[in-house]
């Protein structure tokens, strides 16, 4: 997977323009939030807490989308759907690639910073 397909380039460009010198702050915030959400997702999956799973996945999806991390957002959508249908297996399956996807997204965002 290349860096370009991980992120929505156009959205990112706009984001950089708008945030200006605050762009690093945005990334830091996103990273902090995302790591916490990932933790919540994993815990919720372990406990079969579908409500918690759904809520966190939905939230994560929204934030990722806002930063142009499209791939990550899609994965979160899958988790959200599985949680709504109370399908634990599907949720776990959807959750599996998320840690990797997050790292990729963060890396791509840092790269785009310069």
């Amino acid at each position: 997977m290349t860096g370009q397909s991980v992120l929505d380039a156009q959205l990112l460009q706009e984001l950089k323009m708008v945030m200006g010198t605050d762009f690093p702050l945005l990334l830091d915030t996103f990273e902090r939030d995302s790591r916490q959400r990932l933790l919540h997702l994993q815990q919720a999956c372990d406990q079969a807490d579908f409500e918690g799973l759904r809520h966190t996945a939905h939230s994560f999806k929204g934030s990722s989308g806002n930063l142009g991390a499209q791939q990550l957002a899609n994965l979160c959508q899958a988790i959200e759907t599985a949680a709504r249908e109370q399908d634990l297996a599907a949720a776990q399956a959807a959750l599996a690639p998320v840690p990797e996807a997050l790292e990729q997204a963060l890396a791509a965002l840092r790269a785009a910073q310069d």
């Binding site: 959205l11 706009e14 945030m19 996103f30 939030d33 929204g62 989308g65 930063l67």
Partner: protein
């Protein structure tokens, strides 16, 4: 609160996602607005109450108090103000988005946020807020004006209620039905006794409604009462009323009116009808007579074109006159038909005059049953009293002025040439006499003496009329026509001089009235009150004077009559 076009707003951003919140905050600040942030529903409510934002960007799904709950709470707390709520949401399903609007959201913004769309939405809501503010301002203004208007109408109503002197209407000759809001519909009924014993009645119907219609009633009523109590005859009163209203009322506002003067002996009525429906005269055993409007309403024509001609009718005791506004025949029923003139006439033809008033009112009520008619019906019945009814005393309230006249004075008043035909000196002279303490309570008698002597000078001294012409009622009218003709034909040197001399104190007094004319002279008719000639109803005049006065004499060469009237405190009845 009105917002100028580019005024920055205070924006509350409530989102539990830190990065989303930061993103939005930066977006919105870059648009020039001030931002306050909250990370959950409770914090959002606290910010709202503390800082009263202009617009709220609200995440739909938040822990603890959800976005939906916040929206509901905000809308309730906002009350009359318009505080737009834009939901922030990653939801995509249509029904979820619709739900946002149902709970009180005004719009939604989907993630990922589109800066251009966000800016457009914020601007759109700013326009809406401005419009909303304007509407509220106007609404408040209207509410204020409305309150003021109602209060003014209430004050005006209280003034107008005093203008029409309702106690003057409480006499046995009058029965009437006026709507409770009559004054505000422009309908007015006035009645006043005159010193001569005549009764004057006016029914008026001003154009328009509300304050504009009611305002004209004040000059009308004041002029009416003032002139009536001074003894002015009906045509002069009508003329003055027209003049007053013509001066005062704006174009297009006028008063349809009917004035009736009932003679003291209840035998004649004089009617002036300008713009009201016909006056019905109902007498037992006869078909109803009517006096239609023969003039334009009051306030339409300048004085120079105004016609004061009246209709005279002989009447019998017990006759009834019906005066009405057009509300009577214009009353409509549920089907939208009007009561109409024809129905009214039929009713009157078939009814007993004594019951006509009630029958008409009942018929109208029955006709209009159930329909939402406006209470515009004004119906007045004027009853001629039987011949032996006690003479009506002028209410004591009529004479309000403090006595200012001296106890020894004299006055001479001369009319010459054309003035004889055009001027009536009696009201002024009577006014002067009534200033005298002691004479005030005897207005009727004093007036009789003055007017009979004056009439005598005109009719027999100058016009050389023969009283026998007045035998019949046709002759009556002919007599007065002849009088006018002959007086008009008098030369410029013709004159009438009235001299008044008074001596007295608080207990008694003596008034000497002399009336001298420039005619060749006449002999005093040999008549006394004790044997009146029933075949000669006229010529009663001097007999009356003889009955009231201590002495009546004719001075040589026969064209001057002098009467001496004496009064004594405690003597309230006329001597006959």
């Amino acid at each position: 609160m009105s917002l100028p076009e580019d005024e920055p707003l205070q924006v509350l951003i409530a989102d539990d996602s830190n990065s989303d919140r930061l993103l939005l905050e930066t977006f919105v600040k870059k648009l020039g607005h001030r931002v306050i942030t909250a990370s959950d529903g409770d914090e959002a409510m606290q910010c709202f109450h503390a800082l009263r934002p202009d617009i709220i960007l609200l995440d739909a799904l938040m822990p603890r108090m959800s976005g939906f709950a916040v929206a509901e709470a905000v809308k309730q707390a906002a009350g009359d103000s318009f505080i737009p709520i834009i939901f922030l949401t990653a939801l995509t399903e249509a029904d979820s988005l619709a739900r946002c609007l149902e709970v009180g959201g005004d719009d939604f913004l989907t993630k990922p946020y589109n800066r251009v769309i966000l800016e457009a939405k914020i601007n759109a809501f700013r326009r809406m807020k401005r419009m909303h503010g304007l509407l509220q301002q106007q609404r408040d203004e209207i509410a204020r004006y409305n309150r003021d208007l109602l209060r003014e109408q209430d004050w005006a109503k209280r003034i107008f209620d005093k203008v029409a002197r309702p106690d003057y209407l409480d006499i046995p000759q009058l029965r009437y039905s006026l709507s409770p809001l009559a004054m505000f519909n422009g309908d007015i009924l006035l009645a006043a006794p005159q010193p001569s014993g005549n009764l004057l009645v006016l029914l008026g119907d001003f154009t328009g409604h509300g304050l504009a219609a009611a305002v004209g009633t004040m000059p009308l009523a004041q002029t009416f009462y003032s002139m009536a109590e001074k003894g002015f005859p009906l045509p002069e009163i009508v003329r003055e009323l027209n003049r007053k209203l013509y001066e005062v009322l704006p174009t297009g506002v006028f008063c349809c009116a009917c004035l009736v003067s009932v003679s003291a002996d209840q035998a004649t009525v004089q009617i002036w009808n300008g713009g009201l429906p016909e006056v019905f005269v109902l007498q037992a055993g006869q078909a109803p007579q009517s006096v239609a409007s023969g003039h334009l309403p009051l306030g339409v024509q300048p004085d120079s074109r105004f016609n004061t001609q009246t209709t005279w009718l002989p009447v019998q005791p017990g006759s009834r006159l019906l005066l009405r506004s057009d509300g009577v025949h214009e009353t409509s029923n549920m089907q939208g038909e009007v009561f109409g003139e024809e129905r009214l006439r039929q009713l009157l033809i078939n009814a007993d005059p004594t019951e006509a008033f009630e029958r008409v009112l009942q018929a109208i009520a029955d006709f209009a049953e159930g329909s939402a008619r406006s209470d515009d019906v004004s119906l007045v019945e004027l009853r001629l009293l039987p011949a032996d009814a006690p003479a009506m005393a002028a209410p004591a309230a009529v004479w309000r002025q403090e006595a200012s006249g001296g106890l020894n004075w004299s006055l001479q008043y001369t009319l010459q040439g054309e003035a004889i035909l055009r001027c009536d000196p009696l009201p002024i002279l009577l006014h002067a006499l009534l200033e005298v303490p002691g004479l005030r309570g005897q207005a009727g008698r004093v007036h009789t003496v003055l007017s009979e002597l004056y009439a005598n000078a005109l009719e027999h001294g100058l016009a050389r009329l023969d009283s026998s012409i007045k035998h019949s009622h046709e002759g009556f009218l002919h007599y007065y026509e002849l009088k006018r003709e002959r007086l008009a034909a008098c030369s410029e040197e013709a004159c009438v001089r009235i001299s008044l001399q008074y001596r007295g104190d608080g207990n008694s007094g003596e008034l000497t009235v002399s009336v001298q004319d420039s005619g060749p002279g006449f002999r005093l008719p040999v008549l006394t009150a004790s044997n009146p000639n029933p075949e000669r109803p006229a010529g009663r005049g001097l007999a009356l004077v003889q009955g009231l006065c201590d002495t009546v004499s004719v001075l040589e060469p026969g064209n001057c009559v002098q009467a001496i009237y004496r009064w004594q405190a405690g003597q309230t009845e006329a001597r006959r």
